[in-house]
């Protein structure tokens, strides 16, 4: 479903990602691990069109999207829940969520269903639906961000550290939800610091270090890999 080949990206000076190759088959749950600053968010920003790569290629659903605009990429069915959330702070929670369905806004009924799904996933948001997103607590905002990404009814979802700032209970719920979403046939690509949980639910994993893929393979293998255990699982 998504093929990233030979991708290099930078912020002006030198590259931050160097010739990265990643493949995520359709319907798979791929996890990207990596220490701070290893380039996970940079990778995601590039895939979703927020950054232009200096070289390489991104294919999604059989078509090249390397130089497409974010808006076009979302319309193709790739949703990105970014690091830093990027909510619309002065809009209500509900508006944030419905705007998440911007590309599919014509199908009113579907939007309502999706909205309902978000509320079911994060019941805390239902009470807050008319409060401005900027006034929510950090964790609640994270929930809105995830919910908003889901609202576009994507074929594939990329989540940048979704568990950040969430209470343990909710973290567990979010992981369950991710699994659920994945079962529906939606591909998921996940960057996560909570490597243990992530590897449990993932099918495939990649490990980034200093902008390069240093390890990859089935998630279960990675979980058994001593190098991963030492670096990410604190064993």
């Amino acid at each position: 479903m998504m093929t990233i080949s030979d991708l290099s990206v930078g912020y002006g000076a030198g590259d931050v990602l160097h010739s990265v190759d990643i493949t995520a088959a359709s319907g798979e749950l791929t996890v990207i691990l990596g220490a701070n600053g290893s380039g996970k968010s940079t990778l995601f920003r590039t895939v979703s069109g927020l950054l232009r790569p200096s070289s390489g290629r991104v294919e999604f659903d059989g078509e090249e999207i390397t130089r497409s605009r974010s808006a076009a990429i979302v319309r193709r069915g790739l949703a990105h829940c970014p690091e830093g959330r990027h909510l619309f702070p002065r809009m209500s929670v509900e508006k944030n969520l419905t705007l998440g369905a911007y590309v599919g806004r014509r199908d009113r009924a579907r939007v309502r269903t999706l909205l309902e799904r978000s509320y079911e996933l994060f019941p805390a948001l239902r009470d807050k639906s008319h409060q401005s997103a900027g006034s929510l607590s950090g964790g609640q905002q994270q929930m809105v961000a995830i919910g908003r990404a889901l609202m576009s009814d994507p074929k594939m979802l990329i989540l940048d550290e979704p568990s950040m700032g969430l209470a343990p209970l909710v973290t567990q719920q979010v992981f369950d939800a991710i699994v659920g979403i994945n079962r529906e046939g939606i591909g998921v690509m996940l960057a996560e610091q909570n490597a243990r949980s992530a590897l449990t639910i993932a099918t495939t994993g990649y490990v980034l270090a200093e902008g390069r893929v240093v390890l990859s393979g089935p998630a279960a293998d990675l979980a058994d890999n001593p190098a991963v255990q030492q670096a990410y699982l604190g064993v």
């Binding site: 912020y11 220490a35 701070n36 600053g37 690091e83 830093g84 805390a124 807050k128 409060q131 006034s135 929510l136 607590s137 950090g138 964790g139 609640q140 994270q142 929930m143 550290e161 950040m164 700032g165 969430l166 209470a167 343990p168 209970l169 909710v170 973290t171 567990q172 610091q193 909570n194 490597a195 243990r196 670096a231 990410y232 699982l233 604190g234």
Partner: protein
Amino acid sequence: MLLEVRGLGKAFGGLHAVRDVDFDVPEGCVTAIIGPNGAGKSTLFNLMAGFYRPTAGTVIFDGKDITGMQPHQTVRAGIARTFQTTHLFEGASVLDNVRAACVVRSSSNALDAVLHTPRHRRDERRSLDTSMSELEFVGVAHLRDEIASTLPQEAQKRISIAQALATEPRLLLLDEPAAGTNDEETEAFGALIREIVARGVTVCLVEHKMSMVMNLADQIVVLDHGQRIAVGSPDDIRSNPLVIEAYLGADADTTGATT
């Protein structure tokens, strides 16, 4: 007691984000505040640091009533805080970010600067020294000339701790210092916090990473829906059914995630 919170409350319109909260922060300890998302932890910090004006209750710091003080007054009094989403002066260098925080301990003013008085020079020298030593303390001195906002999250978090320390606080409020870090890095933050406490700074901590909380905290305050539902030692809290239901989850695995 370094800090005494009595009957503290904050309402936003009809919503009671914090309601009737009592607790004490003993000097030289780590007090953790935990609770579900939206429980009112950050709001509580904002109340303690003077960012919000309480709608009820009092905050006593070191025997002095600081309820309703402005942030610059509480900082001067000795309370420093970091933000939940890391917040640095964008575009400024790491050193400048920390140096800016020395303002509160300086006695020289603009006139001193214009006249280049000895007081001004002394302050300048001192603020440079303080900032460098704080940067070294948190372990990012080598990044001093980098533009802070381009650094990885973890480095930024350290810088903001250095910034808070540069105000020479007696009480440091850390809002989710370890969010978005992996286990190894979380460990490192834990170690840093221990060093801070060893320096004699009392720490108040909001965190969702139970591994860190359980390892560090001497006392834990649990909030839910703005109210204090429990307070006690890590062991008490771990087994408190109220807390498990509201926060930790019956799945003991989550707590077990502690190394």
